[in-house]
């Protein structure tokens, strides 16, 4: 099975949601150790001022040790950038649901392909503002909706502007607010987890939201090349767990929970979507059937009347 796996390769789709300037693109490029995506921020005066959230998917095929990964990164420029951000999450939710719908359609076809190209979104990195003391109203709205359709991993963006104490306070505050608003972020507790899994999940839950710093620049520090950001007061090393949680996030997403993310998407989110859709179809069919019987009844009522008429005539 492993050989088949290696031959086929895997699909992994993630969507990045957050205001512009949060470092979404940089983080993705850092996680996958290469320049995969270009930033969609506005760099010129006449640059595009987006009026709605756009969906920009980019697909790359990357390989490591004979394992191929078909990675699709979906960026959402324009999210949360306008003065009036009502409904800015609608294109995002629609895209995610569309991918589920496309998969469902292909699954329902009488002649299915051997392996359906999985475009469903497996993970959503939601970027939180480092300055606010907790969740903002827009964060609450969007997270409530996102957690129903996709695995949401909240991330604390630009963590290099927060000291260690501020980070700890922020994380605690976020966890409290998420619990209060009943928003369930990934990873989800499950009954079939064994002790090891539970311990791992707990550790991840403690670190969540991950305070990350992204960088594609490499500096020379004490002779060794270091990925990081250089300031006048020090160099931030992205790969140093004391500086930021980047390493934890990368390990969690790719090294330990990659398969889990894909599976949970299929089992939990896709299935719930499928159930909803099928139920809707059933209801529609039931409504249609009811209409048909109603019409038939009416016809019958007219029929005896008609015979009466005939008699009179």
């Amino acid at each position: 099975m492993e050989r088949k796996f290696l031959k086929r390769g895997m699909n992994f789709n993630i969507i990045l949601v957050g205001e512009s300037g949060m470092g979404k693109t940089t983080l993705v490029n850092t996680i996958f150790a290469g320049h995969l995506v270009d930033s969609q921020g506005r760099r010129t005066v006449q640059g595009p001022q987006r009026k709605t959230t756009e969906i920009v998917p980019t697909t790359q095929v990357i390989e490591e040790n004979n394992v191929t990964l078909r990675l699709t990164v979906v960026d959402t420029p324009g999210f949360g950038d306008q003065t009036n951000n009502e409904g800015c999450w609608v294109p995002v939710i629609k895209y995610i649901k569309d991918q589920h719908a496309a998969y469902l359609e292909r699954e329902l076809k009488p002649q299915r392909e051997r392996s359906i190209n999985d475009t469903r979104v497996h993970a959503c990195l939601y970027f939180l503002n480092p300055g606010s003391k907790g969740l903002r109203p827009i964060d609450i709205e969007v997270l409530k909706r996102l957690t129903e359709v996709v695995n949401v991993i909240p991330v604390l963006a630009k963590a290099d502007s927060t000291t260690v104490e501020e980070r700890a306070a922020f994380k605690k505050r976020i966890k409290e607010e998420l619990a209060m608003q009943r928003i369930q972020a990934y990873p989800y507790p499950s009954e079939e987890d064994d002790e090891e899994d539970i311990a791992l999940n707990n550790k991840i839950k403690e670190l969540s939201p991950f305070a990350v710093v992204g960088s594609e620049n490499v500096f020379n520090e004490n002779g060794a090349p270091v990925r990081g950001r250089r300031h006048a007061w020090g160099i931030i090393n992205v790969d140093n767990p004391e500086h930021c949680d980047f390493v934890h996030l990368r390990n969690f997403m790719l090294r330990t929970h990659l398969y889990d993310l894909i599976e949970v998407t299929a089992q939990r989110h896709y299935e719930s979507f499928r159930t909803q859709q099928l139920r809707q179809i059933k209801e529609m069919r039931a409504a249609q059937a009811q209409n048909a019987t109603q019409m038939a009844q009416q016809q019958q009522q007219i029929q005896p009347g008609a015979t009466l008429f005939k008699q009179q005539a």
Binding site: S20, R42, V45, E86, G234, I235, N237
Partner: protein
């Protein structure tokens, strides 16, 4: 009007003094008086929640103007923008400053921020209006100046460019208040990113025609001062960090700053951020200019607009200098103008009447002519008739023979 005024302005002669008179002491007198009176300065800070408003103010004035935020506000969503002001009286070297800081919590925090500047604009304008009413009072001995002298607008350090809400806000505010854009939490940007970010912000500001407060200088000032101002101008918008915590550096110095695992950033280190420049501009060198611009330009514009909309009309004649000969000449010319106008009017009327009469006469002439012709025709006809009659009579008065008579009778019988 201006020409007349300049012609009549008194000639200023520069005279050399022959001894020490003493009015050079005037600035010192002003200084002493103002120190005794104390200064007041009203500052407004606008920015999203968590961008560092309170910390910046506390750092700027080295005083805890704003208390620590209450941690128990979990789940409390603020609706709309509130305006809350805090006053503090601080003293330095015997100079008292009554500092009022107006905070705007809730700005840009909702999902729909379309009108979040409205309460702020209203607040600024109401302060202008309050000053206007005080100015128009009968007893003006005690005027308290609550006008906003400077508005610090905090920009999020995204590294890209200005956001839509930033541009909208600044476009609406720049004619009413001195705008000072400031990038906070600038420790999140490296030096190169900061340079790019600042240049993009300035490009955006120029593109949209936003007027921000810029330090001005005169050519006669010290070159040192001019250089300082130029330096300040080149760093706008300032990128600062704020901190009210004191950290001990490895070399033993205690500085205000932020402690990170990778280093310590010092608030008052010019290489780390522009805080020193901002403080200098705001408090040391340009506080008076900020107040002056508020009073002379921004307030006056607001006042003119307000009074015009209230129905007052601008009467520019009160600005002219009084001069008797000029006035008499003017009167004479006005009088002459009037006379000539009347004259031309009268000639016009006269001509009109003449024309009318002429046309009337012509008409009657034609009528007469027509009648004359008619009469002539009638007379002609009569004459012809008479001639015919005469002919007949002539033919009748021929001697009548009996044959003729018979014939005549016969003729008559036949006829």
């Amino acid at each position: 009007m201006t020409e007349a005024a300049t012609r009549q302005a008194p000639k200023v002669a520069k005279k050399k003094l022959q001894g020490y008179v003493g009015f050079a002491n005037y600035p010192n007198q002003v200084h002493r008086r103002s120190v005794k009176k104390g200064f007041n300065f009203t500052l407004m800070v606008v920015g999203e929640a968590g961008i560092g408003k309170s910390t910046l103010i506390n750092t700027l004035f080295n005083t805890r103007v704003f208390p620590d935020k209450d941690e128990s506000t979990i789940g409390e969503t603020r609706r709309g923008v509130e305006i809350s002001s805090m006053s503090a009286e601080i003293q330095e070297n015997g100079v008292r400053l009554r500092l009022t800081v107006v905070d705007t919590p809730g700005f840009g925090d909702s999902i729909n921020n379309d009108d979040c500047w409205q309460p702020i604009l209203e607040n600024i304008e109401s302060r202008f209006d309050a000053y206007l009413t005080q100015e128009n009072r009968v007893n003006r001995s005690k005027i308290s100046d609550n006008r906003i002298h400077a508005l610090i607008y905090l920009i999020k350090p995204t590294g890209h460019a200005l956001r839509a809400i930033d541009i909208e806000f600044m476009k609406r505010m720049h004619t009413k208040v001195n705008l000072i854009p400031v990038i906070t939490k600038s420790d999140t940007l490296t030096q190169d990113e900061l340079v790019g970010f600042k240049s993009r912000i300035i490009a955006d500001i120029n593109y949209h025609g936003i007027q921000i407060f810029k330090p001005q200088w005169e050519s006669f000032e010290d070159p040192e001062v001019i250089n300082e101002n130029k330096d300040m101008l080149s760093k706008i918008p300032f990128a600062v960090i704020g901190s009210d915590k004191i950290i001990e550096k490895p070399d033993g110095n205690r500085v205000r700053g932020r402690l990170y695992p990778w280093g310590i950033i010092e608030v008052e280190n010019e290489k780390h951020n522009d805080f020193i420049k901002l403080r200098k501009m705001l408090v040391c060198t340009h506080m008076e200019e900020l107040k002056d611009v508020t009073d002379s330009i921004l307030y006056e514009n607001h006042r003119s607009q307000k009074l015009v909309t209230m129905g007052h009309e601008q009467d520019n004649t009160v600005f002219r200098e009084y001069n008797p000969t000029a006035q008499m000449e003017e009167e004479r010319s006005v009088h002459e103008a009037r006379m000539s106008k009347m004259e031309s009017e009268m000639t016009a009327v006269f001509q009109q009447k003449v024309q009318e009469k002429e046309s009337k006469l012509k008409q009657s002439e034609e009528e007469l002519y027509a009648r004359h012709k008619e009469m002539k025709q009638v007379l002609e006809k009569q004459r012809q008739e008479l001639e015919e009659k005469k002919k007949r009579l002539d033919s009748q008065t021929r001697p009548i023979t009996p044959l003729d008579k018979k014939q005549k009778k016969g003729l008559f019988n036949l006829s």
